[in-house]
Amino acid sequence: MDDIFAIPIDDKYLLYAPLHHLTALVNRPALAQLEASLQADAPAHPALQPLVDRLRAPGEPVPMARTGPLTDPLFLGIIPTRGCNMACRYCDFAAPKQSSPVMSLDLARDAVDAYFDLLAAAGQTRGEVHFFGGEPFCAETAVHFVVEYAAHRAAEHGIAMRFEATSNGLYPAARGQWIADHFDTLVLSLDGPAEIQNAHRPTPNGHDSFEIVARSAAIFSDAPIELVIRACITQETVGRMPEIAAWITHEFLPGSVCFETLTLSPLAEQHEMLPPDPWEFALNFDRAAQILGAHGIETVHSTASTRDCRATFCPVGRDALIVSPDGWVDACYLLHEDWERSGLNLRIGRLDSGRFAIHTDALQDVRALTVHARPLCADCFCRYHCAGGCHVNHDTRGRPGEYDALCVQTRLITLAGLLREIGQGELAAAWLEDRAACAVSAGQPSDRLSRIEAV
C-alpha cells in the first residue's frame, strides 16, 4: 500500500503505482473497493481483481541511495571553463564570463586517466564524458583533446564511449560540425524563434545570437548526433509554447525538446523576467507536446519524466565525477557558491597526481541526498520521478504536501502524461483547460491511497 497513489481528476481518480508500472483511471467507488480489498487482503470485484493482483505482486525495489565503493560512476563530467560567450538576460551563473580560468590540458588528461583507471579496475565496459560550463566550447581545445584522448583510452580498454555536452550553440559552423561528428548528444539552449532568442540570449556586446545558434541547430539536426533543444520559458513566452514547438518541428530535427521554466535570479529580476504561472506552463506544455509528438519528437520537463523510477533527480547522488577547471571533483556542475547558499556541500574530492582522491564521508553524504531525505516529497505521487528536483535550487525542507510552483507544474505535467499514456488524451486536454480542477489535483496534500479522504 505504501507506494500506491490516487490523484483526483475531475470526478475520477488516477490510480498510480510507479513501482508496479500500473496506471489506471477509476471512479470513486472503485477506488474505495480497491483500497478496502488491499487493506483486508480480501477479494475484490471481478472487474477490479486484475488491478488488485498487480498491486499485490512485488513491484520493483524502492529506489534507494547508492552504497558501497565507488565503482560505477554515472559519468565523468568535465568543466573546461566557467566562462561564457553569451550574456543571457536571466543567467543565474555568478561566474565571470570573460576571465574564468580554463582547464589545462594536463589536468584534462589526468581526469580522463583517473576515470579510465576507475572503470578498468571495476571491469566496466561503458563510459560517458559530459561537458558543462559556463559554455564548455569557450575552452574548445580542452574539449577537442578530452574527446580524442578518452576515445583513445577507451579503445585501449575495450570500453564503449558516449560524449554529451550542454552548449549555447554560439560558434562558427566548422566548430559545430566537429561537435556533430564527435558527440552523441548535445543539449542546445535555444529559447525559440529569433525575437525570443535574441531578447533572452544576446551576446555580451548586445548583438543577436539567433542566426548563429539556429545555424548550429541546423548542423546538429542534419548530423547523427542526438539533439536536445532546451528552451527556457518565462511568463512572457509561456503562451507561445505551442508556436515554439511548431517552429521547431518546421526548422530542426531534435530527438527531444526540453521546456524548463525560468529560475529567478538577480539578473532576471533586473530585466523584469519572471517564471510562468505553473498551470499555464503545464497547459501549454501539453499542447506543445502534442505538436512535437506528431513529428516523433519527445517533449521533456526534467522533473516530470516517468521513464524510470529514481531516488535523486540529477547526477547528484549517482556518483557522477565532475571535474572543475581547478581540479576539484564535485557531484554537481553548479557553482559551489550556489550549493553553499543552499546549505549543501557537494564537493567529493580532488584530482591528485592523476588519481581521484575521493573523500569517502563526503561521497556518502552526497549519496544520502535522495528523495527519502526530502520531507516535502513524502506523500507526492511524483516522488520517484521528480525526486524533489534540483538539490540546490528547490527547497524541499517544507512539510509534506506544501507544494510550491515547481511542484504544481511537475504534478500537472506528470498527471497529463500519465493520462495520455493510458489513452485518456481527451480527458487530459479537457482537465488541463479547467484551472480549478487542476488546482484540486495539484493541491491534494497526500496522494497515498491509504490517506485519500474520499476513500
Partner: protein, 314 residues
C-alpha cells in the same frame, strides 16, 4: 531498368528512342520495362509507348501518381491484368501539405478502375505518416493484395523533403504494426530500397517476418535511363552517378560499372556505426540509401597546415 519518358521540364522521349531502349532490354534478356517520370502518363504518345512495349512482349510497370487523365486510364485499363503492374503512389500531391480529399477521391476511383493491375504505394516522409488508410484503399478497390512502402530519400543534388535516417527508428514500429494488420487481411507489405535492419527492433523484425514481409536491406543500382540516354544509378543519386551507354553494354555490365563508381563510398553507411556493423560487414545490410550516405561526406577540410620544411624531409 527503368525508363524515364517525361520529366519536369516537359521534355518527352521520342518513339525512336523508346524503341532503342526496348532493343537494349532485349539485348540484356530483360522482359520487363518500367516507365518512370515525372509522370509517365503525361507523355503525349503514351498509348503508342504502351502499344510498342506490348508488341515486344514486355511486362509493363508504370510508376504513377494516379491523378491521371481519362485517356491514359483507358490505355492502362486495356492492358491485360497479368501483363502490367501500375504502381500508384498514394501520397503524391500538388499541394505541399499532402493530398487533398479531392485528390484521394480521384485516386481511389482510378484504383477501382485499374483493379488488380494496380499496386498502391506510399512514400514515408515524416515520422507521423498515417498508413491505415492504405488498408481500406487496397481492400475496397480490388487492387493487388500488396502495398509497397518506401522511405523518402534525399535527392543528392536537390533539396527535397525526405525522412532523415535519424527518424527511421520512429517509423519502424508503425511499419511493423501496419504489416501485421495488413497480413490479417491477406495483404502483404513490400519494402522498397533503403530500409535498414536497425530501424526495427528484434520484436518488430519478428512481426515483419510473421506478416510475410521480405526484408532485404538493400541499395543497389536500379539503372534509371534518362530521356537523353544517360544511365543513372537511381533517382536519388540523379545526375551525380551516371554512365553513357554503349551499344553492346548489357544491364549486368551497366550495374557493375555503376557499382564501381560508388564502391569507395560504400564503406560507410547512413549512420556512423554502419561501417563497423556486423550486418553491413557481412553484406546482410548495405547501410541504407547511398544518397543519404553520400550526404554525410564532406569536402576537403579547408584549413592549411604550415609546417617546418624539415618535418617533411625537404
Amino acid at each position: 531498368m527503368q525508363t524515364a519518358i517525361g520529366d519536369h521540364a516537359q521534355t518527352f522521349i521520342t518513339l525512336d528512342t523508346f524503341e532503342a531502349r526496348l532493343d537494349a532490354l532485349d539485348r540484356s534478356g530483360i522482359d520487363e520495362i518500367r516507365l518512370i517520370g515525372g509522370e509517365p502518363t503525361l507523355h503525349p504518345q503514351f498509348p503508342a509507348l504502351i502499344e510498342r512495349a506490348r508488341r515486344r512482349g514486355k511486362h509493363l510497370v508504370v510508376f504513377t501518381h494516379g491523378l491521371i487523365s481519362e485517356r491514359a486510364l483507358a490505355v492502362l485499363e486495356a492492358i491485360p491484368v497479368d501483363a502490367c503492374t501500375i504502381l500508384v503512389n498514394t501520397n503524391a500531391s500538388r499541394h505541399i501539405d499532402g493530398p487533398t480529399p479531392d485528390e484521394q477521391a480521384r485516386r481511389r476511383a482510378v484504383l477501382l478502375r485499374l483493379g488488380a493491375r494496380a499496386l498502391p504505394g506510399f512514400t514515408i516522409d515524416t515520422p507521423g505518416a498515417a498508413l491505415d488508410f492504405l488498408l481500406s484503399l487496397a481492400l475496397e478497390t480490388g487492387c493487388q493484395p500488396k502495398i509497397r512502402l518506401g522511405l523518402a530519400q534525399p535527392i543528392l543534388s536537390g533539396r527535397n523533403r525526405y525522412l532523415h535516417p535519424k527518424q527511421y527508428p520512429l517509423v519502424g514500429q508503425p511499419i511493423a504494426r501496419f504489416a501485421q494488420a495488413a497480413a490479417q487481411y491477406g495483404i502483404t507489405v513490400e519494402l522498397d530500397c533503403g530500409f535498414v535492419r536497425c530501424m526495427f527492433s528484434e520484436t518488430e523484425l519478428e512481426m515483419l517476418h510473421a506478416a510475410g514481409v521480405e526484408t532485404a536491406w538493400r541499395c543497389s543500382p536500379i539503372l534509371d535511363v534518362g530521356i537523353d540516354g544517360t544511365i543513372m544509378h537511381c533517382f536519388s543519386l540523379g545526375s551525380r552517378v551516371v554512365l553513357r551507354p554503349t551499344d553492346s553494354a548489357t544491364a549486368t555490365d551497366l550495374r557493375a560499372a555503376l557499382a564501381d563508381q560508388v564502391r569507395p563510398y560504400r564503406a560507410a553507411g547512413i549512420y556512423k556505426a554502419c561501417s563497423s556493423c556486423s550486418f553491413k560487414l557481412t553484406g546482410a545490410c548495405t547501410g541504407g540509401c547511398l544518397s543519404a550516405t553520400l550526404q554525410r561526406f564532406r569536402a576537403s577540410p579547408a584549413p592549411r597546415l604550415v609546417v617546418p620544411e624539415e618535418v617533411l624531409g625537404i
